[in-house]
């Protein structure tokens, strides 16, 4: 462990108003406490300016969020603010536009630039398939580790479970242990898994599939799109959306919405079922040859333009994605060293040679694949900036037209296997609806939520892709033929804490705050109960059945939180604001900061209350 500097009287005086600054008071600034494997995470490059000074009142802790993200996000930030205020931790609210939140507040090179930031996570299926999507955020080498969390034990455990391909039980045990640590060590504050509330026309359409995280008709899953059956005269399903698409290049698309809408045109090697199981798509079967070698049998099918789909297309796609760094394909291609064609021709067989054992390759990564036709892309000079005029895929729908900013249309591709009722029934189970399906889909851009709701009521559109508030959905459901649709979620609402800031580096504060957050109250009051409250601080949802582990909960009891702080030597000033420990209690505080993951009991510290 290196770099435990920062204790100096000279740079003290960071407190604000607990009275006269003590000349000899020690202080500690925000700092990286370890030698990070990431070059940019070092003490010449600390993203936050926050100082703790012996015997001084705490400086305000910035609470960052984007009220644009969800209609209730500001309510959530206010809830966290009052949790901190209960303990006497001063706060500062920081509401920023959504694009700034992602572009500026969470830089991958240094981690968060504020002590607290919060968000909900996207509905990408991989987050509901394998625990690694969230566990890796605790890994020091992962670019998603914005919270600057560093624990060698945790890192080793993640490395261990990620490489455990053969023995699923052994992997499960390690994954459970990691969830226990995540919660006990207060990696973050996980609040709940908000339900996905939507509304759609059910008078003219049946067969909506409530997929977890995506609801009935967001685009990360294609099940509603292929299962819908027209009940009226209309055979083209029209969906109102508010985000436009930037282009038709799926692997290198600039925006998430474009990529998601195009998953009806392109197939992946595997898909995720509504029960969050990995199901065959372009690959029909696979064989794990050894830890780093996997072979797949491919489906006999054709591209939308009639050309045969062959193993060459798979090999070509992976190599092109790797050569030109396709961002949306990175999850899939990262662990792949090389692809070989084992058996040529229609269908055929491919072999993936991985860089090392990767437990999530078959449970998650293959679902994020999209295969593009070699005969269309091999002559493209600059694939990353290519915008195919008429994208050709193997998916259940073929491209019809696109007008940036206003609409995209696709038509049914009759030869696709999903139009086969047996295939569909096997995957969809109870949600299966027999029938021919729709003739086409139109995504129509409607300016804003208000207009969307009006268009749905007026019958101009059949469904809205946005997530609605409970109230909006109830309101819509009062119309004949429109139903409110609720699905569960695997993407959590969580509060990121920056582990290099002295406030969060002290495990006592982390735990005290955990007792001060009224998750159930927020869920009931603001979300009207439409969410699954997280026990403890786990980012993995109970929907991820194979891997989920339920950690011990933190009882909502702010008094207990204050007691914990008092025992650790914290005091309160005249205005009931928290004051950093002094004297021996300060030394004990510094010991906790140096470790970062140890409790007072583990360090055998005195009771300073």
């Amino acid at each position: 462990m290196a770099g435990i500097a920062g204790c100096s009287g000279m740079f003290g005086g960071g407190g604000n108003g607990s009275g006269e600054a003590d000349e000899d008071a020690e202080s500690v600034e925000t700092q990286f406490w370890e030698d990070w494997p990431v070059e940019t995470k070092n003490n010449d490059n600390v993203p936050v300016d926050y100082t703790a000074t012996e015997g001084q009142t705490l400086d305000p802790v910035t609470i960052n969020y984007s009220s644009e993200e969800e209609p209730w996000m500001e309510e959530h930030a206010v809830m966290i603010e009052s949790s901190l205020m209960e303990l006497g931790i001063p706060t500062e609210m920081d509401d920023v536009p959504l694009n700034r939140l992602y572009d500026e507040y969470w830089p991958a090179d240094t981690g968060h630039i504020v002590p607290i930031s919060m968000n909900t996570h996207g509905p990408d299926p991989q987050r509901g398939l394998d625990p690694n999507a969230f566990l890796l955020r605790m890994h020091p080498e992962d670019s998603g580790n914005y919270m600057n969390y560093y624990d060698e034990e945790v890192r080793d455990l993640i490395d261990e479970e990620s490489a455990e391909v053969e023995d699923q039980d052994a992997r499960r045990e390690t994954v459970h242990e990691l969830q226990e640590i995540m919660s006990e060590d207060v990696f973050c504050y996980s609040i709940n898994f908000p339900d996905v509330i939507q509304a759609a026309n059910t008078a003219n359409w049946s067969g909506y599939v409530p997929t977890p995280g995506n609801g009935t008709n967001r685009d990360s899953f294609i099940w509603t799109h292929v299962n819908l059956q027209p009940q009226g005269d209309d055979t083209t399903w029209v969906k109102g959306v508010t985000t436009e698409m930037n282009g038709l290049n799926l692997p290198w698309s600039a925006g998430g919405e474009a990529a998601k809408r195009m998953t009806v045109i392109y197939d992946g090697l595997y898909d995720a079922s509504p029960q969050l199981e990995v199901v065959p798509a372009l690959a029909t079967d696979h064989e794990i040859v050894d830890d780093t070698t996997i072979e797949m049998d491919l489906r006999e099918t054709t591209w939308h333009d009639g050309e045969d789909f062959t193993p060459e297309d798979v090999k070509f796609s992976v190599e092109l994605f790797q050569e030109y760094d396709a961002p949306d394909m990175a999850v899939f291609t990262d662990p792949i060293d090389s692809v070989e064609v084992v058996e040529e021709g229609l269908g055929g067989r491919v072999r993936f040679n991985l860089d090392g054992p990767d437990a999530s390759f078959m449970t998650q990564r293959v679902v994020m694949s999209a295969i593009i036709p070699k005969h269309k892309w091999e002559d493209v000079d600059d694939p990353a900036n290519h915008n195919p005029e008429e994208p050709v895929g193997t998916g259940p729908f073929q491209f019809a037209s696109w007008d940036q900013g206003s609409r995209m249309e696709v038509e049914k591709f009759e030869d696709h296997w999903m139009w086969d009722e047996d295939e569909r029934e096997e995957i969809l189970g109870e949600y299966f609806e027999p029938g021919e399906g729709v003739d086409g889909i139109v995504w129509s851009n409607v300016g804003n939520t208000d207009a969307l709701l009006g268009a749905l009521e007026g019958g101009d559109i059949d469904a809205v892709d946005s997530i609605l508030t409970n109230e909006q959905a109830d309101e819509l459901a009062q119309n004949d033929g429109i139903d409110k649709q609720v699905s569960e979620n695997f993407a959590p609402l969580d509060v990121h804490i920056n582990h290099i800031v002295p406030v969060w580096r002290d495990k006592v504060i982390r735990k005290a705050v955990a007792h001060s957050i009224n998750k159930q109250g927020f869920t009931d009051d603001v979300l009207d109960g439409n969410a699954t409250v997280t026990p403890g601080n786990n980012l993995i949802s109970p929907l991820v059945e194979d891997w989920y582990y339920e950690p011990d909960d933190y009882e909502y009891d702010p008094e207990l939180g204050r007691e914990m702080l008092e025992k650790a030597g914290y005091t309160w000033d005249d205005e009931d604001m928290l004051v950093w420990p002094e004297g021996d209690a300060w030394d004990a505080f510094m010991d906790r900061l140096e470790d970062g993951h140890a409790t007072r009991e583990e360090l055998e510290q005195d009771d300073f209350s």
């Binding site: 609210m93 509401d95 536009p97 508030t469 009051d525 009207d528």
Partner: protein, 304 residues
């Protein structure tokens, strides 16, 4: 004549002028009503947040069953109803007056000052100075206010001072043009020429002899700028580019729109909407009646 009596005379002269102005306003019924609204608005701007019975963002109103009152029509608990998350609309309306007032006040004054100075300098010196400054106003006239403001606020975090700055940057052109033409007619009058002839410098002539004669028009346009600023702030907030840390009337409208309750929750829409239109209209009504004093020609035309 002693200094004291001179200053008393000045004060009584000022008092007389004020009485005269007030007299014109009171005679014009519309302007009088406008003045009442303005006084009310200023009072709200100063006292509003203190008068609010609840915290506009942090307090959630609850019904008898302890459930939050979501989008409730006016009732005993909340006489202006509640928002989608159970916040008191009345408190938001009261608290929202202040940011609206601040933007109006500073945006208006800033616009007035910048516009006045540009118009004065441009009109007084004429020639090349005039050429440069007027091309600059042409440029700001050519740039559409809202899109440009949105562009700026996309890159900078919106805050009240920044919004005021953006407003001033785009609004000064209006008073500048008017003041310039006024100055051009004043600067050729005999007393200005004789001041110059008796050796007064440019600065002295400009500020001591010319400026007082166009000051009234300057005040008038400053008043107008107040209502432009309020209207633009509301538009920006409505589009989601307002200061996110405060609740202004504009942000209230944005929230009700975003929540999808625009068509149902009239009690949430009307207070900020009426507030904004009442204050902007009032400023114009009062301004119109003042124009009659400043520019008697209007009055004569009206009488014919």
């Amino acid at each position: 004549m002693s200094v004291e009596s001179l200053s008393t005379e000045r004060v009584s002269e000022l008092g007389g002028k004020a009485k005269n102005v007030l007299g014109v306003i009171v005679k014009d019924r519309w302007a009088a009503a406008g003045l009442v609204v303005i006084v009310l608005f200023v009072t709200l701007g100063i006292l509003g947040p203190a008068l609010a019975p609840h915290d506009p963002i942090r307090d959630t109103l609850r019904g008898e069953d302890n459930q939050p009152l979501r989008t409730e029509a006016p009732s005993e608990e909340a006489f202006m109803g509640t928002t989608a998350f159970g916040k008191d609309v009345f408190s938001q309306f009261l608290a929202g007056a202040r940011p609206t007032f601040l933007v109006g006040l500073f945006g208006g004054i800033g616009t007035g000052i910048v516009g006045f100075l540009v118009g004065l300098v441009s009109g007084y010196f004429g020639g090349r100075v005039d050429e440069v400054l007027m091309r600059l106003t042409d440029l700001t006239f050519a740039l559409p206010l809202l899109p440009m403001a949105l562009l700026v606020l996309t890159f900078v975090q919106p805050s009240t001072p920044i919004i005021v700055l953006v407003l001033v940057t785009f609004l000064w052109k209006m008073p500048a043009r008017v003041i310039r033409s006024e100055v051009m007619s004043v600067k050729n009058r005999t007393f200005v020429r004789s001041a110059r002839a008796s050796g007064a410098g440019h600065l002295r002539t400009m500020f001591y002899h010319v400026a007082p004669n166009v000051l009234a028009v300057g005040f008038l346009y400053t008043a107008y700028a107040v209502s432009w600023s309020i209207a633009v702030e509301a538009s920006l907030s409505f589009l989601g580019f307002g200061d996110p840390t405060t609740t202004s009337w504009g942000t209230m409208l944005q929230e009700v729109f975003e929540s999808g309750d625009m068509r149902d929750a009239w009690w949430w829409v009307l207070p900020p909407a009426i507030g904004i239109s009442a204050i902007t209209t009032s400023v114009f009504l009062v301004g119109r009646s003042l124009e009659e004093i400043i520019n008697p020609e209007i009055q004569t035309e009206g009488d014919q």
